[in-house]
Assembly symmetry: C2
Homo-oligomer: 247 residues x 2
Amino acid sequence: MAESSTRTVERALVLLGAVCDAGSLSLTDAARRADLSASTALRLLRTLEGTGFVRRDTEGGYRPGLRVVQLGAQALGHESLVSLAGPALDRLVELTGESAYLSVRSHDGAAVYLAMREGTHSVRHASWVGRSIPLEGTAVGAVLEGELPAEGFVAVRNGLQADVTAIAAPVTVGHGGSTRVVAVISVIAPSYRVTPELVATIGRRVGAEASTVLGGGSGTSADPATTGRTDKEYTGTGGTAAKEDIA
Amino acid sequence: MAESSTRTVERALVLLGAVCDAGSLSLTDAARRADLSASTALRLLRTLEGTGFVRRDTEGGYRPGLRVVQLGAQALGHESLVSLAGPALDRLVELTGESAYLSVRSHDGAAVYLAMREGTHSVRHASWVGRSIPLEGTAVGAVLEGELPAEGFVAVRNGLQADVTAIAAPVTVGHGGSTRVVAVISVIAPSYRVTPELVATIGRRVGAEASTVLGGGSGTSADPATTGRTDKEYTGTGGTAAKEDIA
DNA sequence: AAATCAAGTTTCAATAAGTGAAATACATGG
DNA sequence: CCATGTATTTCACTTATTGAAACTTGATTT
C-alpha cells in the first residue's frame, strides 16, 4: 500500500473523497480534513474542478461534480455482479418484504453496498448503494471474513444498528476445493418482526439465493425459484423511506 | 480553466476516466488513451489502485474501483435535484408509460442523465444514469441552450437516435425576470408510438411537471396544442438500430 | 528450441512541477 | 474602523515526477 504512489494524486483523491463525504465543503474545511495547507488544497481543488470532479455551489463551497456521478454510474453498470444479483435480491424482497442488499469488500477493510432493493413493509430498513459499513460486528462482515456456520448463513441481531437483524450469506466463486467469498447477500429487517424461526427460514433462503448468483448450478442446494413461496406480503404503501440511520 | 492545475492530478484523472469509460483496460491501452508513457501510466494507475479508485481484474486489466462507485452513489444522494425530480419522473412514467429522464449540463459541454425511470411499455427507450449525450441535435440540448418555444417544450423526432422521439422541458430557477435553466426533464418514446397530437399532449405534461420540480407553483402552463418541432429524416424502419447500446 | 515480439515492470539522472509560509485581498460583524 | 476568519496570490526552495532505456516475462513464430 505504501509502496510507489504519487503524493499529489493521493492528496487530490483524499480531497475528492472528503468533498464527496461531506456533500459540500469550504476550502478551509476541505484542507483541514485532508490535512493540507490551504494553498495546496486550493490548487488541487481547482484541478478537480477543471476536470468536473468537483464543482462550486453558489456559496463558494465545493461539491462533488458530475464527473463523479457519471463515472460511478458507469462503473456500477460494468459491475456484472450487480446485474447478476438483481433477480436474487428481487426474489428476496418479494418473499420477505424486507430490504435486501448486495455488498462486497472495499479496499479499506470495510464493506460497501453495491446494490439494494427496498423492502415493501412500511417500516423497513433503509440504506443506500455506496454506503460503507464496518466488518466488525456485522453479519456481512462475518461472512466476508469467511465465517460460515453449517446453516449457510450468519444472522446478527441488534449488532451495528440497534433494533435490526441482519441475515447474510456468501456469494462464492469456487473452483474445486478452494472457494472464495466475493460478495454477500443480506436481508435486513426490524428485529421486532423476526422470530428466531423466521430468521432461520429467511437465512436458508438467503443462502440459497446467494448460491444462485454465480455459477448457479453447482452449489449448495435447492433451487430457490421453485421452493415453496408461501407468503407474499404486500404491505405495499411504501411511504417515504426512513431518513438517515447512523453508523 | 487552463489556469493553475496540477499536471499529475489531471493525468491521473484522465486515466481514471479512460478506465471507467472502457470498463477494463490494459496498461498499454490506458497509457495510449491518456497519451502517457507506460511508466507514468503505471505509476499513476498504482496510485489509483492503492486508493481504491481502480482495481485489477484477474487478467491484470484495470477496472473502475469501488471507491468510484461509492463516491458516485454518495454524490447522487446529495444531489437534491434527483430527489426533487423523482416524483415528477414517476408521474410522467405513470401517465405515458414511456421512459423519463432528468438531465443536467455536464462540465464538458454535454448533458448527463442524473436520474431516470424506465417506461412500462415492453418496447421502451432505455438508457442509464451517468450517460452523457451531446447538446447538438437533441431535445435536451436545445432546452439546455435556452431554446424554448411558446409551447413550453421541445420535441425532436429521430434526432440523435433513429426511431425515437424526445420531448423535453426545462427545470428553471427563476427569481423575477432572470430565469435560468438548471436541468431538463424529458420523456423519450419510440417514434412509431407517438402521433404529433400525442407529442403535444405529453409535451404539455412534461412542461407542467418540470415546472413543479423547483419552486412548485408558478409555472409555464402550456396550453396550445401545436407541436414544437418537426421531423428529421426517417430512414427505413426495416432493420434495427443496435448502434452503441450496451444492454 | 531458438528467435521474435509485445506487454509489463524497474531504474535513474534531469528537471519540471508541486509545496507551503507569508503577504495580500476580501469579506463580515462588532 | 479595526478585528477576525477565509480565500487567493506570490515566490524561493526542492522534492517528487518524469520518460528513455534496460530488463523481465510470456506468448507466438520460425
